[in-house]
Structure formats: structure tokens, C-alpha cells
């Protein structure tokens, strides 16, 4: 296959560069602001793109005192356990729903789709968790979010898309539903499983609201909730802290904690990425 003509390639390059710049510039600003001095932050209106002087005061402030490292650890725990649980239950549920005509297929599918369309209120959710005795336990953050109807539907669609001949021939060889799952469906679904796993992982990593509601003990708070106490409270911040001229400026702290909350996902993503670009690697060269 011949590579595309120059003008097309150039156009593609321009479009991609612009798109990336639109993202890179603000993010560079986030990192820069986390490293900037109070003077520069106030002078440049709160958002610094290129710092004149680098100061790690904000990061130092975050990491002494133990709140942030602990919160990161909590988030990692919740994310790992939650993602494992979610992937397992969602895969099983999606697989169970991927053979149309099976017993109870329609009702269960309706239940799943219904969960997409109607959302329960906060307090009934709170009462449910509280009655189950899950308050102040990490399970209160994991279990309610364990099954996402959206992810079930997506996974089911990908499962149903697996060519019938493969399943047929396996059945002819005497394989039951369980073996079809493990021998055929799962191996062929690595890409979408990675993606769904990523969706869940990010969902758990970003969870702050369920933590706010169900975790009374601030020692158990995940990083996103801690982040909110730095960012959303910005108007009230300061009234409590008289005489704090020596300390890192608010904006730098906010940006620093933002960076801290994003970095772990950034580290994980490349490993996931491999799985859904692999299919393209094999085979023809495309322009």
C-alpha cells in the first residue's frame, strides 16, 4: 500500500499537532503552576505556563504529614480490588447475556438496560449501604459501583460479535458454555476487556462522592476526596489560616495535588494501551 500523498500527511500532522497542543498547553500550565512561586502566580492571574523560578514547596507540603501518601494508597487499594471484582462480575454477566434465546435472557437484559436509564437517589442509596453495615468500610465504595450497566452492554456486544463458526465448532467438539467462555471468548476479547478494565479502574480512581457519603473516618479517604478539600474549598481557604505567608500558595497546592492524582493512571495506561493496538500490529501495513 503506497503511503498517502504529502499534503494529506501534512494536513494530518497539523490537525494532530493542534489537538495535542490544545491539551498539552493547559497541562503544562498545571504542572508549572504547581512549581511556581506565590508572586508569579498572583501576577499572572492564577495560572502559570512557564515558571520563572521552580519551587517544590507545594509538593513538600503535600507529602509531609502523611495525608496524601495514605490517600494514594487507599485509592490504589480500592482501584485494584474494585477493578478485579468488577471485571469478573461484569464479564460473567455479559457472557451470560450474550447467547440470545437463553433462559431469562430478555428479563435480565431489561434489568440491565433499566439500570442505565433510571438512577436512584442519594438517601435511599445511603440507607441501603448503611443497613448492610457497610458504612466506614472500603466495600461501601466498591460494591455499589461494581457493576456498571453501560460496561455490561458494551462487553456483551463485543462478545456477541465473535464469529459463530468458532463457537459452533467448539460445541461440536463437545465444549460446554463454561469452556466456550474460557477457551474462545476470553482469549479473543483481550482488547475490549482491557478497555472495560480501564474504564472501571478510572471510575474507582476518580470516586469521591461515594467516599464522602460513606466514609466518615477521614483516614480512609481516597485521593480524589482529599483533592476536593484542597480545590473546592478555595473560597473558604485562608480564613482559617491566618499568618501563612511562608507557606505554598493555594493554587500551587491545588495543582500539585491534581498532578499527584493523575500520575498513577498515567503510569498504568501504557500497559493497557498495548492490548488494544495489538490487533493492528499484526498484518498489513496501512497508510
Amino acid at each position: 500500500m503506497t503511503p498517502p500523498p504529502m499534503p494529506v500527511r501534512a494536513l494530518k500532522g497539523v490537525v494532530l499537532t493542534v489537538c495535542c497542543a490544545l491539551v498539552v498547553v493547559p497541562f503544562a500550565g498545571i504542572v508549572s503552576t504547581s512549581l511556581a512561586t506565590r508572586e508569579q502566580i498572583v501576577r499572572s492571574g492564577g495560572f502559570v505556563i512557564v515558571p520563572d523560578e521552580i519551587s517544590f514547596a507545594a509538593y513538600r507540603a503535600l507529602f509531609t504529614g502523611g495525608v496524601v501518601p495514605r490517600a494514594v494508597a487507599v485509592s490504589v487499594l480500592i482501584t485494584l480490588v474494585g477493578t478485579a471484582l468488577s471485571l469478573t462480575t461484569t464479564t460473567l454477566l455479559a457472557y451470560g447475556l450474550s447467547r440470545p434465546g437463553s433462559l431469562a435472557h430478555r428479563p435480565v437484559l431489561m434489568l440491565v438496560v433499566g439500570a442505565l436509564l433510571f438512577t436512584p437517589g442519594i438517601i435511599p442509596g445511603y440507607l441501603t449501604v448503611s443497613t448492610l453495615g457497610l458504612l466506614d468500610s472500603y466495600w461501601s465504595v466498591i460494591l455499589p459501583a461494581a457493576v456498571s450497566a453501560f460496561n455490561v452492554v458494551i462487553l456483551r456486544a463485543f462478545f456477541m460479535d465473535i464469529p459463530a463458526e468458532l463457537v459452533e465448532s467448539a460445541r461440536i467438539d463437545g465444549a460446554g458454555d463454561g469452556q466456550i467462555l474460557t477457551r474462545i471468548v476470553l482469549p479473543l476479547s483481550k482488547a475490549v476487556l482491557s478497555v472495560i478494565g480501564l474504564f472501571y479502574a478510572v471510575g474507582y480512581w476518580n470516586a469521591f462522592f461515594t467516599a464522602l457519603l460513606y466514609l466518615n473516618d477521614a483516614a480512609k479517604w481516597p485521593i480524589q476526596l482529599v483533592l476536593r478539600t484542597y480545590v473546592v474549598n478555595q473560597q473558604q481557604l485562608g480564613v482559617d489560616q491566618v499568618g501563612t505567608a511562608e507557606l505554598p500558595p493555594q493554587e500551587a497546592l491545588q495543582m500539585a495535588i491534581l498532578v499527584v492524582s493523575i500520575v498513577p493512571i498515567l503510569l498504568v495506561y501504557p500497559f493497557i494501551q498495548r492490548h488494544f493496538t495489538k490487533g493492528v500490529l499484526v498484518g498489513a501495513v496501512k497508510g
Binding site: 491539551v23 434465546g101 437463553s102 460494591l143 463458526e165
Partner: protein, 336 residues
């Protein structure tokens, strides 16, 4: 000639299935009776149990609390003792209260903008990325583009305000050079476009991921075969790529419609004060401003129910439409 979609990765050497075949159907069962089907399907049923259990406990059980839509709900009386008012809480929909209609209008406009722009551009982005030669470049660009997804709306709105606001670097520069300033933030006339732009910035890279996953499943041999047949880039796009993506696109579109009347709450309420209610009031903020804030609990639950029902109608309708076009859609009646 159309090339089939969803071929297996190169680990299994199989000829591509004939074109235009409906999605995977498994051979007819041996027995039709219920106990027979139970025995046949017990593994499947077992598999569904844990997920279903979680859904029922943590989603459907609390959903029962939405019954307050039919009550004049007073906190200190509670569910048990609050008076039942039937459909009175739904009056706001029937009476055509102009403020409610305004919220509905804004919601629909923004929803159309979002489906038109925010839904489609990630597809284009995915195609663009997919066609890159270098794997490395592809990964880097992917990683960069999805970064904004991790920011909360508080931060995103703040970034937009800082950079594009009246005293931000862009406008300061323009003002110093006596050029016209950019009136984007706080401008009611372009609010809907601004909101769409923000969603695009935040979510396009992320939305792209699912499409990339779908693209990765297209059998490279299909591209080869089409090249052999003399197809150029555009024809390949049309005959190989799009069929491969169609299923995912339709599915995601249907799911999006299920959520149709939700166009973003936190993002909008953070900016409502800057542009006034005329431009920015949508259903969710209307419910907040007139329900929660006033203590009109029943009304907000009622609107939530209606939104759900509208979602149901849209999903069912879109699904039927998808069937007409030969797509599986969300589900279809099929024998096992």
C-alpha cells in the same frame, strides 16, 4: 462489495465470514422445554448471578425510593407519612410552565450539539490516529489526548476561565495590541457552543478509546484483500473500516440516547451565574434550582422519573431503527 467486520485476530486462521451476516447466532437448541432450557443454560445463569445480585442490591433497591415522586414529600414526615398527591408533582410538565419549557429547549439544543459534535469527532479522531504509521506516535498522541478526562469539571471550568477569560493571557495579549478581545467566557450568546467545546476538550480523547478498540478488531487481511481488489484509501474507509465500526457506533449512540436529556449538571451550574439562566438553564439545573433549593423534593424525583421514561422510549425507538438498517443494536429477538 462490503467486507465483513469483527474478524478474529491473526491467531486463528479462518476465512472471513460471508458479508452482511447478522451477528453471532448459535445453533438451535436440542430441547425447548423450560426445565430443558434450564439444564442447558445453567452455566449461563450461574454466570449472571453475582453481577445481577449486585445490580439488584445497590441499584434497584434504592430505586424504590423514587416513589416520592408521587408524594408531597416532607422530610420530617418521611416516606411513610408524607401525603400522597398522585401526579401533582408532574404538573410542571403538563402546565407548560415557561421556565420549564426554557430549560427543556436549552437541554434539547445542547443535546443535539453534543450528539452532532461530541459524539462524531472522536470517531474521526480515532480514524485519524489509526491511520498513523508509527505505533509510537499513535500511543503518545492517544495518551496526551485522553488526559483531560481525569480533570474534574471544577478544574476544567477554572482552566477555561483562566485562559480565555476577560483578564486571561489571550485577552490581555489582544488588548495590549489593540485588537478585539475574545468574548467567549460569560457570553450568553455562545454559551452552548462553549459548553460543547468544553465537553469536547475533556472527553474526545477518552471517547476515542472505545473506537480504537473496535478498529483494532478489524482483520488486517480485509484491508489486504481490498487493496488487491484495487481499492484506494477512501474506498477502504467506506467498505472495510466503517462496516467494522458500525456496530459499535450504533450501540454507543443508542446508549447515549438513553441518557439523552442529561447534558451535564456540574459543568453547567458552575457557569450559570456568569451567563444567566436564559442561556444556561437545563433540566437538571432547573430541578436543582426549583426543587432541591426550595425543598420541593417530590418534583425533582418526578422529573427524574420522566427523564428515565423518555430515555426508555428513545432507546427502544433507536433500537428498532437500528434493526431496520440491519444492525443488531442493543438487542433483538433471536432464537438461541
Amino acid at each position: 462489495m462490503a467486507y465483513a467486520r469483527g474478524g478474529p485476530p491473526a491467531t486463528v486462521d479462518e476465512p472471513a465470514p460471508p458479508p452482511d451476516r447478522p451477528p453471532a447466532a448459535v445453533p438451535a437448541p436440542a430441547r425447548d422445554s423450560a426445565p430443558g432450557r434450564f439444564a442447558r443454560d445453567r452455566v449461563l445463569l450461574l454466570a449472571m448471578l453475582p453481577g445481577l445480585g449486585l445490580l439488584l442490591t445497590f441499584h434497584y433497591l434504592p430505586l424504590l425510593g423514587n416513589v416520592i415522586a408521587f408524594q408531597d414529600f416532607q422530610p420530617y414526615l418521611g416516606l411513610g407519612d408524607s401525603p400522597w398527591v398522585g401526579f401533582a408533582n408532574f404538573r410542571v410538565l403538563v402546565e407548560g410552565d415557561p421556565l420549564f419549557l426554557r430549560a427543556l429547549r436549552n437541554t434539547v439544543v445542547i443535546m443535539l450539539l453534543q450528539i452532532g459534535v461530541v459524539f462524531t469527532l472522536p470517531i474521526a479522531l480515532a480514524l485519524l490516529l489509526d491511520s498513523l504509521l508509527s505505533e509510537r506516535l499513535k500511543r503518545i498522541v492517544q495518551t496526551v489526548l485522553y488526559l483531560p478526562h481525569f480533570l474534574s469539571w471544577v478544574i476544567v471550568v477554572s482552566i477555561f476561565n483562566e485562559l480565555l477569560g476577560g483578564s486571561g493571557p489571550v485577552n490581555t495579549f489582544l488588548r495590549r495590541h489593540d485588537l478585539a478581545t475574545l468574548d467567549v467566557i460569560g457570553n450568553a450568546a455562545v454559551f452552548k457552543e462553549l459548553v460543547t467545546g468544553q465537553v469536547l476538550w475533556k472527553e474526545a480523547g477518552w471517547a476515542m478509546i472505545l473506537f480504537l478498540a473496535a478498529l483494532s478488531r478489524i482483520d488486517p487481511e480485509l484491508y489486504e484483500a481490498s487493496a488487491v481488489d484495487g481499492a484506494g484509501r477512501m474506498r477502504q474507509l467506506w467498505h472495510v473500516t466503517f462496516p467494522g465500526l458500525r456496530g459499535v457506533i450504533v450501540l454507543l449512540l443508542i446508549l447515549r440516547l438513553g441518557d439523552a436529556l442529561t447534558v451535564g449538571f456540574e459543568q453547567i451550574i458552575l457557569q450559570q451565574q456568569a451567563v444567566g439562566l436564559d442561556a444556561s438553564e437545563v433540566l437538571d439545573t432547573y430541578v436543582y434550582n426549583n426543587g432541591i433549593v426550595m425543598g420541593d423534593w417530590g418534583v425533582s424525583a418526578a422529573v427524574g422519573l420522566v427523564k428515565g421514561l423518555v430515555g426508555v422510549a428513545l432507546v427502544l425507538g433507536a433500537n428498532k431503527l437500528a434493526h431496520v438498517f440491519g444492525e443488531a443494536g442493543l438487542y433483538r429477538r433471536e432464537a438461541r
